[in-house]
Amino acid sequence: MAKYKMHVLICGGTGCKSSNSSDIVENFQKILAEKNLQDEVQVIKTGCFGFCEKGPIVKIMPDNTFYTQVKPEDVRNIVEEHIIKGRKVPGLLYVNPENKEHVSDSKHMGFYKKQLRIALRNCGFINPENIEEYIARDGYQALASVLEQNDPEATIELIKKSGLRGRGGAGFPTGMKWSLCRPNKADQKYMICNADEGDPGAFMDRSILEGDPHSIIEAMAIGGFCIDATKGLVYIRAEYPLAIHRLQVAIEQAREYGLLGKDIMGSGFDFDIELRYGAGAFVCGEETALIHSMEGKRGEPTFKPPFPAVEGYLGKPSNVNNVETLANIPVIINKGWEWFSSIGTEKSKGTKVFALAGQINNVGLIEVPMGTTLREVIYEIGGGIKGGKKFKAVQTGGPSGGCLTEKFLDTPIDYENLVAAGSMMGSGGMIVMDETSCMVSVAKFYLDFTVEESCGKCSPCRIGNKRLCEILDKITKGNGTMQDLDELKNLAKVIKDTALCGLGQTSPNPVLSTIDNFWDEYVAHVVDKKCPAGQCKALKQYVIDPEKCKGCTACARNCPVNAIHGTVKNPHEIDQSACIKCGTCYEKCKFNAISIK
């Protein structure tokens, strides 16, 4: 085996891959070979580093140098300067936005400083398509020790004590879920991994599957052993081709190494995994809908009970766990429940991965200990609001979460606190909005999504969300009334109170939380017919200042709908009822006489 002096880690996640990271890999291989360094420098395609804002990422080890936004043509420079001469390439280093200094060690970057990577421990560190790198990082140790100990109840107990809760959204204790499934006897039971990541903009599960697929396989085998299931199924979105590929490769390798299949490591335990593809319906993240979809039925939820633990896939006892939840399992077993439960808050242990997006400097995937505050996430990790604008709100929990304001910035993030604040953990979407966001439009944006993604089974969700959306539309168009606001509040509450599944019960959250936190903004739309953020086109008003208007007629001549009247050399006027707010007059006026109200 060649002993490499240097390792070049290149992000092969979906994000960086779409920015040509594959070409970067190729160039490294080509140029290193050219310099006859192929035996000294190893090139590794890893999973996601998380700092997607600055991708593609290239990391040189052992110098611990973190290059950002690398282009394929930069490779020669890196090889010749850094690898051969030992000189870091300053132009590719991350620049600290505060003091404009170059930072080469990712540890010293604000983005990584506050992070604690447990679920993402191997992402961006190992080659996901090489099982040996996973094994070298203690991979399959947890499975081996669980099998050797041969006491599933004790393992479940350990998971219970660790305080791990489901990372898919609801936060149900994982150990409890397993213990509910274990006693149900059946000729076949199923361990199911929910990889149907449906929140728009969220990609934590995808990144784990792409960067560390073996951790999921190992965790599923452990779970299977604990609940007495010999079959594992991964329900994964067909839109995740790379994750599917990596998972397939990993499953194949695990089988080769005897870590899946019959009689795993001589324990007598059989376990194998199959993939099931989803068509990307948001509602299929709900476990009963997911199971129906896997069975080839319409993907819609059914009333619980019966719970999947009793009657799941094909009517057999099944356990459904989310990808991120599973990624924590092997580490908890290896390092002990005491270690895991020492991280986080009283009721929420461990870490949580968030997909940080919106009007924020550092967009990307982050993992922080539970209890980290929103302020730390937004300002320290996220690097603050883009363009120096003012923070307005942060939306957590995906499309059915809520919008939280400044007053919640110092709230430690955990399941209970987010719900108490009117939002939720969800699967980990976090979208930051600045002062230019109109909160009515934001609520409408999320409603548009749930209206589209509702399965249509229950009336409150199928019709109610549509009606909510229509009322919001009316408000943003300036046609809302105070009665509409009452209707909006009542309807949102009724939907929350009566919908069948989690999707419908949470879909009004964006409306309710924006009403709670931005009531004035709603009133401004309805009473003053103004959009304070200036986003709602229908509420914009173009007005001519008679003092400044010289009567040049340029505006009137260019108005496509003849909404401007006036005579030459006299101040003109805009007929607001005819104006279509196209902004042509505003652009054409040479005297700055037209303003937007």
Partner: protein, 595 residues
């Protein structure tokens, strides 16, 4: 039995474990409103999607309201069914449902018999904040098939039709399609029903709470035909109609109204009022003879004889095996259904008798069934394009005709069917209930084979409402194994057994609708009250007992037609007029996926 104690609206109650809040409340006289929920006790029909959310109740310590129809009672539960929170939620949900439902009640086929309309009345809906500017309504194409009209603009997504189509009938023609607001129940790729595996059993129509699924209305054509002086109108009435029609006029379920029914048809102006029971007796002669023929050959050592013989009276069942088991189409009896036998005889034998040209005769059937509308439109039942049976109307349509014609049904005097196609036996009446056809056939077959009179006419072992039943009849030493199935999911089980070579039966009777024709899709709507179905079932056997002749082969009119016209059962003339053949209709749907 384990029980749980709980409190509903401050009343303590103890119920068996597993009871839903809805049932528990009902048992103490609390009538929680429902819409999607539908059950037929004892007939294996359950639709509990918990989807409409009209039945929500407040359960202490629960975050959200709970649907009473699917939430099981738990020890110590505190339930409020009428708190302000509940009433506000229900009313809002109802307003939402109504906001996506056309308000054309006055012209709707279901007006007065609509469960959504009942709810709107109950909640006193006078205005609806969700209707009007900016609020969209669903827009679907109305589809008309030979039997069923689908107006999905009225669909409330209760999914009852889907449950009937997929679980009760295992036909799989209907399923929810699309997501979100456009979600609706439809056929695969939104194809026409006739291109789907639909059997036209109409059970979807029978359970639809609103006017989304209704029958094709033939009454205007019948009114015109009766008024046409150049037409001779001949009407036949199926056995199950006489035990259900009374319900439409406020009579007790299970009332036998044969005499009033005959009088009403005469009052409507039909030229000849005949009885499908007559042709049911004829069916027994043909089908029974066919059974005896096949059995004799088989017992004589010819193992190539197709057995078991399957009945073929039920047109939805015929459609079912043509679509789903075409490879077995040699098994069913080739005898036409009583409706079609009647039509064939009416337009040949009887037309000749009264000297009427085929084109001048309009043959109408009154059926408890919607598939009969489709059956009479089949090409093989036409002569030069002229159908043997012109129009088939349901029990409900007949009731409308009677009401429209100012006939006070309840006070009509009893009248008798006309001759010669009006005489019948008790064996024919029981065609209306599951197991009846095979019992009638056994009554005749026994006497034909043994040439001895039956020791006991009532074959109790063939009766009942269980989905699959079987009995062995001792025909003078010959053990005849009989199977019976009703509801097509039960038929499927038997057919799969036959396919797997596990079937021990010589003959099997199959009816598509649960309970047989008494619960056919053309009958008065029972809205989930299975007592009504049971009352009809009892009435069928009561009618049988009241008949002076109870074996088909003893029907003098039947004996006469063989003597003067048909010759012998399964003879040449019979084959021409009274037998049919089946088609492979395994669905091949062409879909343009480019759209």
């Amino acid at each position: 039995m384990d029980t749980v104690k709980l409190t509903i609206d401050n009343r303590a109650i103890e119920v068996p474990k597993g009871t839903t809040i809805l049932k528990a409340a009902q048992s103490i006289g609390i009538d929680i409103p429902t819409l999607c929920h539908f059950e037929l006790d004892g007939l294996d029909v359950h639709n509990r999607p918990g989807g409409c959310r009209i039945c929500v109740v407040e359960v202490e310590k629960r975050r959200n309201l709970a649907p009473a129809c699917v939430t099981e009672c738990m020890e110590g539960m505190l339930v409020r069914t009428n708190s302000i929170r509940v009433i506000n939620a229900r009313k809002t949900v109802l307003e939402l449902i109504l906001s996506d439902h056309p308000a054309d009640c006055l012209q709707c086929a279901k007006s007065g018999n609509c469960e959504l309309q009942d709810l709107a009345i109950r909640f006193g809906i006078r205005e609806n904040p969700f209707i009007g500017a900016g609020h969209e309504m669903s827009q679907y194409q109305v589809e008309v098939s030979p039997s069923i009209i689908r107006d999905m603009n009225k669909c409330v997504m209760c999914r009852r039709c889907e449950t009937m189509c997929n679980e009760m009938q295992t036909v799989g023609a209907l399923s929810a399609i699309e997501r979100g607001f456009p979600a609706v129940v439809s056929t695969a790729f939104n194809q026409h029903l006739e291109l789907s595996p639909c059997t036209f059993c109409g059970q979807c129509v029978a359970v639809c709470p609103v006017g989304a699924l209704t029958e094709v209305d033939h009454t205007p054509k019948i009114i015109r035909a009766i008024a046409d002086p150049n037409k001779k109108t001949v009407v036949q009435v199926a056995p199950a109609v006489r035990v259900a029609l009374g319900e439409e006029f406020g009579m007790e379920p299970g009332s036998i109204v044969t005499g009033k029914l005959t009088a009403a048809l005469k009052a409507l102006g039909f030229d000849y009022v005949f009885d499908t029971d007559w042709s049911a007796d004829l069916t027994i002669m043909e089908e029974g003879t066919e059974l005896i023929g096949r059995l004799t050959k088989y017992l004589g050592g010819d193992k190539s004889v197709p057995l078991p013989i399957l009945t073929s009276c039920c047109p939805a069942w015929v459609n079912f095996f043509e679509h789903q088991f075409p490879e077995m189409k040699n098994l069913p009896s080739t005898a036409k259904s009583p409706q079609q036998m009647f039509g064939a005889i009416a337009k040949s034998y009887f037309a000749e008798k009264i000297n009427c040209k085929r084109e001048d005769m309009v043959c109408v059937s009154v059926m408890p069934c919607l598939a009969k509308k489709y059956e009479c439109s089949r090409d093989e039942f036409k002569v030069n394009g002229n159908p043997d049976v012109d129009y088939s109307i349901s029990t409900r349509e007949l009731a409308r005709l009677i009401k429209m014609a100012n006939i006070d049904f309840a006070s009509l005097p009893d009248e008798k069917f006309d001759s010669p196609l009006g005489e019948s036996t008790g064996a024919a009446v029981i065609f209306g209930a599951t197991g009846g056809v095979i019992e009638a056939a056994v009554r005749t077959a026994y006497e034909v084979i043994t040439k001895k009179p039956l020791p006991k006419i009532d074959f109790e072992e063939l009766r009942g409402l269980e989905g699959v039943r079987s009995a062995t009849i001792d025909v003078d030493g010959l053990k005849l194994n009989i199977g019976i199935a009703h509801g097509l999911h039960n038929a499927r089980k038997l057919l799969e057994d036959i396919k797997a070579g596990k079937c021990q039966f010589h003959a099997i009777e199959i009816m598509a609708c649960p309970g047989g024709c008494i619960d056919g899709a053309g009958q008065p709507l029972h809205h989930g009250n299975s007592d009504i179905v049971k009352a009809r079932w009892e009435a069928i056997y009561r009618a049988d007992r009241e008949m002076p002749i109870r074996k088909s082969h003893e029907n003098p009119s039947i004996q006469a037609i063989y003597k003067e016209f048909l010759g012998e059962p399964c003879g040449h003339k019979s084959h021409e007029l009274l037998h049919t053949h089946y088609f492979d209709k395994q669905t091949t749907v062409e879909v343009d996926l480019g759209k």
